[in-house]
Point group: C3
Chain length 335, copies 3
């Protein structure tokens, strides 16, 4: 499995984190277990561990996202790393420098990790394929393809509430076709052995051959789809889909697919409700549900920092092992 | 006194710092005393204390102010905190997320303190009223209402030069009507027991019923107003007042209310001159005075960092006490 | 030599770093030697030394440059300093505050060092001349005049490859007239005793009287100029020169002055190729050379951080000596 192998070093440890595809159940569980340990760190008074002290992590955001950038920045700082926030549009690429020249320069500055967000699918893989051996790449969302830390923070949230994935029925509601979040969630749920993954949405927003290609059950009716499920994941409605005529009005969307307290009644009595945020109140979810007792939406945000700390420290750990194999030390110099 | 109580925890310790209104003289003196201790820190070679290590302080500036943001950022770093600078206009609120959803998300990221600057009066109170129990809010200026750290740094500067507030006559000159700085100064001076607070300005820029409502003496003539005072505080002239026809030209303003060396001669021989900055040279103050021996304008800047360290560490201290009462520890985890 | 003296304190130690002009060979060698020690720091796992802990370094970039700002920021963080990035155009100068008032305010905030980049020649000298005694100023490039850390990182790169400067022939190719980089390199090479410095370019882009004024040999033919040299330094072509009619097309420039593998054949067999970056591939240099075995362009980037650490720590060191002479201590307070 090529995509999986690109992410691992020779000993099978995580070097890049680009996609859930091709990663083993064991590795996903290792990420979840490590995040469990970090959850305590983010909740104590001194929210710091020294695992990445002296490391430099560069946020390369070609697509703006304050929320995601902030959680990666906080995760890096809790690991005691130094963070560079690079606004790519104003940087040297604007002077005609190619993307690869920009990467080569950052590598020459001894940056240890790139966190990449890009509007084009495959951008993070491209950067990982061309990065220097000492650099790790984390995908913070590329095009429609993948958003693996979001997928894993969702798995972490589910496991904390449901204990595990066997016997679990999960429904994902909304624009599956354009959603990198849904794609990462489906891959992770199937790898972790969820009993059943359902996707629910209008025909225009479900990929062709979804059942065969993704291993999910497809529903076009919300009530049918969420009946008896243990987890309901609502996706954010991208408003630009309306102008593309893929969807009628927001009002009509809410009539058909908006999650209300009443509709939630057909799910399992202990079902939880998730959303990657930011939520559109009254469009894909009503406030009573978003703010209600079944909602774990804000827990997802907290868990996102623990998951990002886990993935970052695992990738940096691979580098340290490689350095030690080279005979270099990990200590502090006196200049 | 409702506004005062909103700022204190159950034991009377400072939890938020939103306004001078309703705070006791004892508490204001405690802030000044604590700042005195920090002044040494900002002047030594290693300008660091570990009081807020591992804490995350988010600057929420809805209104741009490099100077104020920088002093809060420096104060936070000298307390060893991590600082997030959030440009609100480009963040998720631009994606249609409500302000409260943005706050909920930052709280879920375990941010410990919001430093808020906003063009609308009451914004900091609103945020404090809706913040999670573990979060403190510091008002860095809201509308015309309050700028309490500016008020306290001015008190600190006065106390360092004059020893105390009894027997002290203070004049504030300029646009009292629109000034959150003046409002905070007047409240602090009256709480700390200054003998006399005077406000000086054209009728259009002095609030109605100022004497009764604010406890000040009103003057419309500069020389009458500053006669024999110990402290002259000049306010910055907001140039947009001209276009609103509240004021004639800058030149005419300087003729009537500009502080010159000659006019300063009617004040007490040891009077000091203050200004919150940035100054408009030749508009509200001439350079000879701004740069002269009576001016303490740059000391105010230095003192501002000590005051902000004092307020931030007092609020964070309340959180630590609350955490310890919950049985949580303050130590560092090993992840 | 006035410019040299402005940069040194009473004991001849480096206080500001504004230009190579007037600095002794001994001082330049001290910078190179110190950078050699820091090169190890930038390559180990924990890239930190505590030499500037608690110091505040403000990047004052009046002219945007992500690359240069990033290397200064990384150098400061590796020295454990706190860094303020100030976007000058949006700061108080936009409110009508003068540059000197902005400086006075930053000094009052106990900033220890200004790193200045400005489009006008002499800006860094102006700021150093008006800075408070406790503040150091580093020139990160001003107008056409000087870019001394770039000049020194180039010297460092040459010394690491060639061992020293005696017997060395160096050619600088391109727009010498407008280049602060070339000016700094020429001054450094002559001070360090290079056998021969050549400049190569069209007549419109070579300063009048260059031979006498700069101590270089002038060539207008590329092959003549780089014959037998040990080092070829290519300058970046500023595309705006075309519109000013100082140059014909990019294509014609490459025909005359573009460095190709074939042309490089006339240089010494062990000649190295340098470029300050970012490179214009196919304009001043072809990719085969830029990415080839003679190119040390990315090493220059790595070396730039070590040189900046060296210069910053030397200037801060002068401050510490001055503080100790004042009887102040270097320790950490407990607030």
């Amino acid at each position: 499995m090529k995509t999986g192998h690109q992410q691992l070093d020779g000993k099978g440890n995580l070097k890049h984190f680009l996609t859930i595809e091709g990663l083993s159940r064991g590795l996903l569980v290792e990420i979840l277990d490590r995040a469990e340990g970090f959850l305590g760190v983010t909740q104590q008074a001194v929210k710091k561990v020294p695992l990445c002290r002296g490391k430099v992590i560069a946020n390369l955001f070609f697509e703006t996202s304050t929320r995601t950038r902030t959680t990666f920045e906080l995760a890096a700082k809790r690991l005691s790393a130094d963070v560079l926030n690079l606004n790519i549009s104003t940087s040297a690429t604007a002077k005609g420098e190619t993307l690869l020249d920009t990467l080569r320069n950052l590598e020459a500055m001894q940056v240890d990790m790139f966190v990449v967000r890009h509007a084009s699918s495959g951008a993070a893989h491209f950067i990982a394929a061309h990065a220097a051996p000492h650099v790790s790449v984390i995908n913070a969302g590329d095009g429609r393809y993948s958003h693996p830390t979001q997928g894993m923070l969702d798995m972490f949230t589910i496991r904390r509430h449901k204990g595990g994935f066997a016997d679990l029925r999960v429904a994902i509601v909304g624009d599956i076709l354009h959603s990198r979040v849904a794609r990462s969630q489906i891959l992770a749920l199937n790898t972790l052995g969820a009993a059943e993954v359902r996707v629910i949405g209008p025909r225009t927003l479900i990929p062709a051959f979804a059942e065969e290609a993704l291993g999910v059950r497809v529903f076009h009716d919300l009530l049918e789809g969420i009946r008896d499920v243990d987890v309901v994941i609502m996706l954010r409605l991208q408003r630009e889909r309306m102008t593309n005529a893929l969807l009628p009005s927001e009002h009509e969307y809410f009539q058909l697919y908006g999650l209300t307290e009443e509709r939630l009644g057909v799910a399992h009595p202990e079902a939880i409700v998730m959303h990657p945020g930011p939520i559109n109140r009254g469009v894909e979810i009503e406030s009573q549900v978003a703010d209600g007792p079944r909602s774990v939406i804000l827990e997802q945000v907290t868990n996102g920092i623990a998951i990002r700390m886990a993935v970052m420290s695992m990738c940096i750990g691979t580098q340290n092992i490689a350095l030690q194999a080279d005979g270099k030390t990990d200590g502090e110099a006196n200049g």
